[in-house]
Symmetry: C2
């Protein structure tokens, strides 16, 4: 079913899934609905925009790591199409309730706040007055106490309520903690503009997901799970923080507002150090964030007294709130992470913003205590707090900083594009704005090119456009199927995805079909953005990446504009 | 001659005027040079942008009101092409020195500030350390004391130095006061990014302007002067403030952040009241701002003690800093005007910004004292001060205001587009962003349409696109010839302009040629913006103007998108 919630009129409409949406899920569905229903020129925080929640095509099944929830809308940050997805327990429960999408429409004219309560009986709009202005942690606890600690909770914190452009939407993890975030593009602000505090999902008595050929499905899933467990051990044991060392060694770890590619304090924020602290304090590495996850890359980080502080604390957060701010203290970074999760702010956008603030001289590089205080100001709603919560682009403009690392107004994530050129191409060409999750071209086997039988050097311009696009397409497949990209954006996995979809829906897709479906997602997003006024001119990095040499390797971004323009031909939009 | 100043290398290059620039001047020349030389995708405050100063084609002659100076560059505020022109004494002196344009190029890497000293001997780059951070009033006095009180001074105040997006460039008037401003589009920030504090122009010993047929030229000029003196009496006696009453009566005087079309305090800020105060305190109405002005619409406004406070205080300032902020006290508005002139801020952008701030609830509508304090904060460089000096769009976003009256990021001037639909079309379609000076469709004879033999109702959608474009074209003619638009943007005056150019240059242009030359200016600007990534999507008002009815007449903006798109065909770009 698809549910439409008119949050102004307080009406819920249940509707059959239109036939042409049958094979759409996750990002594939959110983006298609946006193109079909939302005026690309609408003001993102106005009444015409919609916010769409959709589990992936394989959500709720036994396929491994298939519980990502896609949230889509016209982005308040980039002004273009946006999909941000995350783990947690929400997507699985929605899928089990046979909910293909929730479309949040319209906008209240008064100041009353509401939440949605979802169960097998449908969707109820409930008053949320009592929990307004609470952080995500308090909100989760409040609703768990009120209903059950087994419900999944999608919520916004004060940042979303205040319609800050860097506001995220939080999803509770398997412990019921609001540690998973659809972080990018300010979708929390869009939810805030609809005056929706939370969505509570109770799947008690849900009928579960229908699967045409259950035996075959489980067989494929089981085999894949085995493979993943054995091949993804590195992620289980170390998680994404293990990326700190290689990025530092390659000279592309963003440091001091993208001024250097290596960070002197790297060994104090890398995964060795992190694991050491986690062990000392009774934390844990290797925790799943969603049901059916066999990679389990997450962690529990305790404070100095051994009390739970935060989860996640991913590479991008370490890179951007750590190295990029010159902060070499994991305890401070963990507190920043916790604060952002609670207030409901994108840690990446805030890391980039803090780097920009430090460059302005307002506070110094490396001053973690002041950085923490600044983050707290977003909650206190001081002018400065309201400013920084709008993200790096606006903050940099107001503070007169000229080196602002953003594309389409969105902060660049933890890979300096001068040293990770494929990811740089993704930043430039993705309709999502600078976003490594749209197609992350990490060095190593991912860059293997069958056409040359060679592994690409990610620090040279050659071949990066093709690599980035391949990964953007395969990432889109993961995003519409509901998979965590850590299952691997490879041709082989595209084949497995096809087989699983075939077994579930009784169809006969092959690898090429699946890749074409991924391409179609990118095409739809490009068309939306074109209609919203985006042109080739928006497909570029800030000027300084092209002429300012990144020490110590003195790299510049030198993938030519001509190469970049190939994207149009490949995607055919 | 054309002078190129490389402000990084400290080199001045004198060069002959290229043949294809012979018949270009003012805005025609600044826009053409921008298209020829500046990458439309460059960052406006980066090293690739240029700032161009050019008197009009008839600058320095005996033609009436021909002393406007055009300043052009890629706008830090709109990110598109920008020309802003103003009276004062600079253009006349440049023309007499046979300087057709000054092109300021490149960008210093250090923090040293300079000024340019221009005389018959050329251009000298001089140190400006001693006068950095001074307001425009102090800067003018400083250079007048140092050199002579007969020089013309083009300067920026602290706003330009700080590269605030609402920063203007000031030009001294005939009394040597910095009261004339190229206000719009943040060109002051661009000058600040080049670390140029001022341009000093001494025309002692200048050879003056060469005119082919002096007798004929003077004859045409003399006759026109006679006509202007007799037909423009209203402007001489009352100036632009006389527009307050009719706009209020028509219900389109922007009030309380464009929430109402009439202002209860209108009679306290109209021209009757202004003249009353001026007379009481020994001020004066009917002052020329440039040599050869016979309309003399300006004024001298004294404070309560009879001491000089400010000049200008035009309708747009009264509307936007007065009615739009709910402020009904001319003394406060005059102080705001003085402060903006001194700091170097666009009074229109700041009026719109203050309206937005008042809507956010940070200060109240009507609270002039707090508004003044806020303006002072731009000088004190508080976070809030730095924010508001970036203009209404950024301020509104940060403060969470949804009704932000801007087009292409530039504040709408003193005519609510719902009630002045032709001017609304100009706001929408001009490459300059919301700017009434690009084609102001005031009601009355200006709307006479020969094709129907009727005067257009400016409050109905019909015919507004044609009217706006006619005026945009004829305004462009004024702007390239160097005329103040108050000579009248009429077909007849296009003919007179042609005759004057013919007499000066010995050519044979007719009215159609001149109109075509005006069209070409608009076309060039459209092409620049297209290359900079502007599309049809940028040609619209904020959403609320289309659905929120403006009381008391309950008007919405209802010129259709289809009509708006006619512009492309008419201008043929």
């Amino acid at each position: 079913m698809i549910f439409r919630v008119d949050i102004k009129e307080k009406k819920v409409l249940e509707q059959e899934v239109p036939e042409n949406y049958n094979f759409l899920g996750g990002r594939g569905l959110t983006s298609k609905i946006l193109l079909d229903e939302v005026d690309p020129n609408c003001e993102p925080l106005g009444y015409k925009n919609k916010l769409i929640f959709a589990p992936g095509l394989l959500g709720g099944t036994s396929a491994p790591c298939s519980g990502r929830l896609s949230i889509g809308g016209k982005s308040p940050l980039t002004n273009g199409i946006k999909e941000s997805n995350s783990g947690g327990t929400a997507a699985t429960k929605l899928a089990k309730l046979d909910i293909k999408a929730i479309i949040l429409e319209n906008q209240p004219e008064n100041d009353e706040w509401h939440s949605l309560k979802i169960s097998k009986d449908g969707i109820e709009i409930i008053d949320a007055t009592d929990i307004v202005s609470a952080g995500n942690y308090e909100t989760a606890k409040y609703y768990q106490n009120k209903y059950s600690n087994k419900i999944a909770i999608i919520s916004i914190g004060p940042a979303g309520e205040n319609q800050y452009q860097a506001a995220s939407i939080s999803i509770t993890d398997m412990k019921g903690l609001p540690t998973r975030h659809c972080a990018r593009g300010g979708l929390g602000a869009l939810m805030g503009s609809k005056k929706l505090k939370a969505i509570l999902i109770d799947d008690t008595g849900a009928l579960g997901v229908k699967i045409k050929d259950n035996i075959k499905f489980n067989q494929i899933a089981k085999e894949w799970i085995k493979t993943l467990i054995s091949t993804k051990k590195g992620l289980t044991e170390f998680g994404t923080p293990s990326t700190v060392d290689p990025m530092n060694a390659l000279g592309c770890l963003p440091t001091n507002n993208f001024s250097y590619g290596t960070f002197k304090g790297a060994s104090l924020i890398n995964s060795d150090k992190l694991l050491e602290i986690i062990e000392q304090r009774g934390g844990k590495q290797g925790i799943p964030c969603q049901p059916g996850c066999v990679i389990k890359c997450s962690r529990k980080f305790n404070d100095i007294n051994g009390n739970y502080l935060t989860s996640g604390l991913e590479y991008e957060t370490l890179a951007l709130m750590g190295a990029n701010c010159g902060i070499n203290d994991l305890d401070i970074i963990a507190q920043m992470n916790r604060l952002c999760d609670d207030i409901g702010l994108d840690t990446m956008e805030m890391g980039v913003t803090l780097g920009v603030i430090m460059e302005s001289g307002l506070i110094s590089f490396g001053d973690g205590k002041e950085a923490l205080k600044l983050l707290q100001q977003t909650r206190q709603k001081t002018i400065l707090g309201r400013l920084i919560a709008q993200g790096a682009a606006l903050t940099g403009k107001v503070l007169g900083v000229r080196r602002i690392p953003v594309v389409k107004n969105q902060g660049i994530s933890g890979y300096d594009p001068r040293g990770q050129k494929g990811t740089g191409v993704t930043y430039i060409t993705s309709s999502q704005g600078a976003d490594h999750t749209a197609g992350c071209c990490l060095p190593g086997r991912i860059g293997f090119r069958p056409e040359t039988n060679k592994i690409l050097d990610t620090q040279k311009p050659e071949g990066q456009v093709d690599l980035s696009l391949d990964l953007q397409i395969m990432t889109a497949v993961c995003d519409f199927a509901g998979f965590c990209v850590f299952v691997g954006t490879t041709k082989q996995n595209m084949g497995i995805t096809a087989e699983l979809i075939n077994a579930k829906y009784g169809c006969e897709l092959n690898t090429d079909d699946i890749v074409e479906m991924g391409k179609e997602v990118l095409r739809i997003e490009k068309i939306f953005n074109q209609k919203a006024g985006f042109t080739d001119n928006d497909d570029r990095l800030p000027e300084f990446f092209y002429y300012e040499k990144l020490p110590p390797k003195n790299l510049v971004f030198d993938v030519s504009e001509k190469e970049i323009k190939k994207v149009k031909g490949i995607l055919n939009y």
